[in-house]
Amino acid sequence: MTTSQTKVVERVDLGILIDLLADSGYDVIGPTKQDQTIVYRPISAIDDLPIGWTDVQDGGSYRLVRRDDSALFGYVVGPHSWKSYLFPPRSVLLTIENVDGELIFTPPDAPDRRYAFIGIRACELAAIAIQDRVFLGSGQVDTTYANNRAGLFTVGVNCAVAGGTCFCASMKTGPRCLAGYDLVLTEVLDESTHHFVFEAGSDAGGEVLHQLPGRDATEADFARVAAIVDDTAAHMGRSMDTRRVREDIYTNRDSAHWDRVAERCLSCANCTLVCPTCFCSTTEDTASLDAALGQRERRWDSCFTLDFSGLHGHPVRETPTARYRQWLTHKLATWQDQFDSIGCVGCGRCITWCPVGIDITHEVAAIRTRSEVPA
């Protein structure tokens, strides 16, 4: 099969990408505008994208507003992440037949579909790589995740705008897509042009790219791409210093700041649900009324609930202080021990969607300041 490594595709031709993927049998998922947010849903045409919209984000606030152009990818990330497809909020683990007391356990059949995700941001590619390590790379392979993940086709987007709560630049995950894409595009839009500079990241991507109409990209095109991502990197809404962050969190386990955050935290679990790397889950068992059929389901769980740490009639983490400490410590410190990477990609979702605007970048800074003061 012939492949192309780069291509400049005009706006009018971009719809062909969706058609090509759909015709190859992919379920194509992309950003869409729904209920005043941008969420990832099945798409069948370019018009399904949030054309001409952008998002204004800050601690505890998210608003969609009109852009003064018709950019296709002129916003950042919303409350959904791709984990909803790879690690769904609910999934069936097992069905159990009970034939007069004899139990027969059957895992669900592998779904007969492949996903193509269009419009994955750099931080989100990094998040998928992190969940890959959790569900595929730590000894055991999670069947649900593996089935959804198998055959995935990824179209990344280099961000041309930075969101108010974004800090991927300081986390070194973006705004340029670094790895894990089959194709990556950069949207170039001004008075005179509207086109997309594509690069292939895999053979599968190269094959699709070859079938798209367009011309080879030149040095000038790549210079434009570099200028766009550099400008985005320079306008990050937040930043986090990750040097020695693990050690600082461990030495500040008893910082008074944990209590100050906990006084505001509602333990609502929003932060864990929107986070693209959070992976905790619980199980639910049901049986039919005639007790002939049982089912085990897995659903997302959160370390902010009391049940999460229930043991001998009491939660181990009874106070909100302990629960917030668990969450932040896991993201930034223990994750490194467990999976050789930090558990945060700097997408800013937990800041935006926290109803009281608790900000991981500010909290970690406050928690570690004490370690600079001599004891």
């Binding site: 569900f135 000894g139 086709f153």
Partner: protein, 284 residues
């Protein structure tokens, strides 16, 4: 992003139980039952002392339970279960013939090999004797490989003692020292009263050449490690079994995280040296 995962569909489902049938039950105390299970496919479950399985009760749920004994060759798997909620109630009220789903075994167990050549002190509190029962049986089966062996066991009251018949047998032997104590005595109790940790001073062991295996409430495990430390035992020779909420046993559900460790796969047995700092932090 397609390349990496071509082989994945072929791997086994890590959360798929096998059917096991209850073949015998023995009531231990008012709320605790010991059950022998047999795999219905005839393939016994191979385990090492200190490991646990996940037991699924039809339509009710699945819980982690330590292996309390058995033999894979004979297709016997023994568990001792205390009824504290929906799933453990279902297990404890099961009669012979009832089927459960069991998967595992999981986790890193007790250091049976590392303990060879030295003294062994086994300390159990309450239901904590269940995961230590295979240790004692293994020690007695291979008695020549170990130095002095003692078992210290404490429960709330004489009515809460597990494995009474076996305890009597073990006490009758000269190659294991068995000390039992209760928090509250009752009529007819002529044994010790008080904390199990008080018994430590009574037994003979070489503090510098001993392996301790301790399972019970965290506070008890801490005191044992501290007392033995005072006597000269290194914290890396004291092993404790940690417990946390657990939903999957294979490192996916996140519930059993204990600092950087997943208790299901990095434990449940840890050296005291490894967890000492964490045990000092409340609500970790």
């Amino acid at each position: 992003m397609t390349v990496v995962l071509s082989t994945i569909e072929a791997t086994a489902e890590p959360m798929l139980p096998r059917p096991f049938e209850v073949v015998a039950t023995r009531r231990e105390t008012a709320d605790t039952v010991t059950l022998d299970f047999a795999a219905t496919d005839g393939e016994g479950l191979q385990f090492s002392p200190g490991q646990f399985t996940m037991i699924y009760a039809f339509g009710v749920g699945e819980v982690p339970i330590s292996v309390a004994g058995g033999s894979a060759d004979d297709n016997v798997l023994t568990h001792t279960v205390r009824a504290v909620g929906a799933v453990t109630d279902a297990i404890c009220s099961a009669e012979a013939g009832t089927q459960f789903g069991i998967r595992g075994p999981y986790g890193i167990g007790w250091p049976m090999d590392a303990a060879e050549g030295g003294d062994v002190v086994v300390v159990a509190g309450g239901i904590g004797l269940a995961p230590l029962r295979p240790v004692i049986l293994r020690l007695l089966d291979n008695r020549a490989r170990y130095g002095a062996v003692s078992l210290l066991y404490g429960t709330r009251s004489p009515d809460d003692l597990l494995y009474e018949e076996e305890l009597r047998q073990w006490r009758g032997r000269f190659d294991i020292e068995v000390e039992v104590t209760v928090d509250r005595a009752a009529d007819g109790w002529y044994g010790d009263i008080g904390l199990v940790t008080n018994l430590l001073t009574r037994i003979e062991y070489d503090p510098e050449n001993v392996t301790a295996m301790v399972c019970g409430p965290e506070i008890m495990m801490k005191v044992v490690a501290r007392e033995m430390g005072r006597a000269g035992t290194d914290p890396s020779s004291v092993y404790v079994s940690m417990e946390r909420n657990m939903k999957c046993a294979v490192g996916f559900c996140g519930h059993c995280q204990y600092g950087p460790d997943f208790i299901c796969r990095d434990g449940p047995v840890f050296t005291y040296a490894a967890v000492r700092d964490r045990m000092r932090v409340s609500e970790l």
